[in-house]
């Protein structure tokens, strides 16, 4: 028998055993993207979310204008590691520092804006009302305005770039284990030019010793979003459910599968109905129900078009409540179910973070 090739690749009989009781290590090493490589011997509980709370509606009247600003555009998502010594009381200082940093970078010739001869002003604002528990930090919204030197003080300033850091519905156990000086705001959404985004990230990295990374929404999370949004149809119409798949054919084929909200909602209700009576409905949605819902959609498509959707990848989901793309772009169009969407995204960010 050939001695050099190791047949035993099974992870759990490995001799090296990481005996670490640190919660944080166990939290991340269960099936985040990083831990595909580290086949941690099974001393960690599998915490894949198999059950989520059904979306709760937050009434529009309670929203403040800052929250409304979050609905305006499409955001690019990234994850952020916890920030060191970020204080919510010092936001004015931070705005001045960031403005100075941007100006100095531009004078160094690093910034990508050509021909922009205006001064920059940065504002950091707190968006209240988004944090779900007391351990979570409040959301911070950052805006970069530009003002031409010749403009009058009353002229509206053009917003060059905006972004926000948030933590909505993060795992309370994880938040409690963070050391004192760290603030956890794992989800970073940015909208604006790439150059400015990179500069803002560089400033954050320099000031708060954190790391940024691209947050992709994988196909299972897109399925969760589609199912949660369809679930909302009973209370707020989603108009239509549109799914975009990309299939690895030659040339690559893109399939846009759009259906009426009514049909999608009926299918969803039929998936939930069998095990559920009215009294038992505790408002939670399980992973099997989502899988069943999608299996129904795919088999319907196959019956009509003979195209196997599971051979490809789900790349985009959009409804009237919002749209999410695989590359990490998200747009929330409706304020009612913002919290649910953000909870899911925060969880993705927390899972993908390398800590």
């Amino acid at each position: 028998m050939d001695p050099k090739t190791s047949v035993a690749r099974s992870p759990f009989s490995s001799v090296v055993q990481r005996r670490s009781k640190s919660y944080r290590q166990s939290y991340r090493s269960y099936v985040g993207t990083m831990s595909h490589l580290a086949y941690t011997p099974g001393f960690t509980k599998r915490r894949l979310t198999t059950c989520r709370l059904a979306p709760k509606r937050c009434s529009t009247a309670e929203m403040n204008p800052e929250q409304r600003a979050l609905l305006v555009r499409e955001w690019q998502l990234s994850y952020v590691t916890p920030l060191y010594r970020f204080q919510h009381g010092h936001l004015k200082t931070y705005s001045r520092q960031l403005a100075a940093f941007l100006v100095s970078e531009r004078q160094r010739g690093v910034a990508a804006e050509v021909g922009l001869e205006s001064t920059l002003r940065v504002t950091f604002t707190l968006v209240a009302g988004m944090a779900q528990t007391e351990e979570e930090a409040d959301t911070v919204f950052i805006k970069i305005h530009s003002k031409t030197p010749l403009a009058l003080p009353d002229d509206p300033q053009k917003v060059l770039w905006s972004g926000w850091l948030t933590c909505v519905g993060g795992d309370p156990d994880y938040l409690r284990t963070l050391p004192e000086d760290f603030v956890c705001l794992p989800l970073f959404c940015s909208g604006g030019t790439e150059g400015l985004t990179a500069l803002v990230k560089a400033w954050f990295q320099r000031t708060f010793d954190c790391c940024f990374g691209l947050l992709e929404i994988n196909s299972v999370n897109l399925q969760w979003l589609a199912a949660l949004w369809t679930d909302c149809h009973a209370r707020t119409s989603i108009k239509q459910l549109k799914l975009v798949w990309s299939l690895p054919a030659e040339p690559p084929m893109e399939v846009i599968y759009a259906m009426h909200a009514q049909d999608a909602s009926e299918l969803w209700r039929s998936v939930r109905q069998p095990g559920l009576r009215e009294e038992e409905d505790d408002g939670s949605v399980g992973l099997e129900e989502v899988a069943c819902f999608f299996k129904g959609l795919k088999s319907h498509f196959y019956r009509h078009f003979r195209v196997e959707l599971p051979a490809g990848r789900l790349t985009q989901v959009s409804t009237a409540l919002g749209s999410a793309k695989h590359g990490g772009r998200i747009k929330i169009s409706n304020s009612s179910y913002m919290i649910t969407t953000l909870t899911l995204l925060t969880e993705c960010a927390l899972l993908k973070m390398p800590i």
Binding site: T5, S6, V7, F12, S13, R19, L37, N218, P310, G312
Partner: protein, 188 residues
């Protein structure tokens, strides 16, 4: 009967045959190309897209010593097709003559749930789960070498070792929650 059985035919001397089942029919070609070059044993490689195998080839088919399911983790269809094919495999194969080989396990866009599902599948059937890299020639060679090790044992070409014995050492194990909790407590 369309179920494949391990002991229904006579073996050949110093020969081993392997069946590679893959829905995409891509990695199996590369693996076959490398595996037939083996010199110590005469290796016969049969390729299939899924089970059950067509009945018309039945008389010409040799005794299959090892069935390998090649699963591309990026495609859900791959996993579903492998699961559907398992039903057409005789029970005798699950005593060490079935192996799972997955590719693309390190892909960044891989949903974690799929990896968990594959591991549960392999551990439920007590089969080894191998990870392979199929894009480079080195990766294909390595994967072929590892399969050949299991194949030689499954075909009976290695003295003092049987497929069942080997599978006890190499099968995939997913511990249950209680076992993990016990291990954590012991650590204190």
């Amino acid at each position: 009967m369309s179920v494949l059985r391990p002991l229904s035919k006579l073996p050949d001397i110093n020969a081993a045959s392997v069946l590679l089942v893959e829905n995409e029919e891509d990695f199996q070609q590369k693996l076959a190309g490398v595996m037939v070059k083996e010199k110590s044993v005469m290796v016969k490689v049969r390729l299939a897209k899924s089970l059950p195998l067509p009945a018309k080839n039945e008389p010409n088919r040799p005794r299959i010593d090892l069935v390998v399911f090649l699963i591309n983790l990026m495609s859900e269809l791959s996993l579903q097709s492998a699961e559907a094919s398992l039903k057409h495999l005789g029970q005798g194969y699950f005593l060490g003559k079935v192996c799972f080989m997955v590719t693309n396990a390190r892909h960044a866009a891989l949903p974690a749930e799929r990896m968990v599902a594959v591991r549960k599948l392999a551990s439920g059937l007590r089969c080894p789960l191998l990870y392979a890299e199929d894009q480079t020639p080195d990766g294909v060679t390595n994967a072929a070498e590892r399969l050949l090790v299991i194949l030689r044992v499954a075909a009976g070409c290695v003295p003092m070792t049987t497929a069942l014995f080997l599978s006890n050492l190499t099968s995939c194990i997913v511990p249950t929650e209680e076992e993990e909790q016990q291990n954590l407590d012991f650590d204190a």
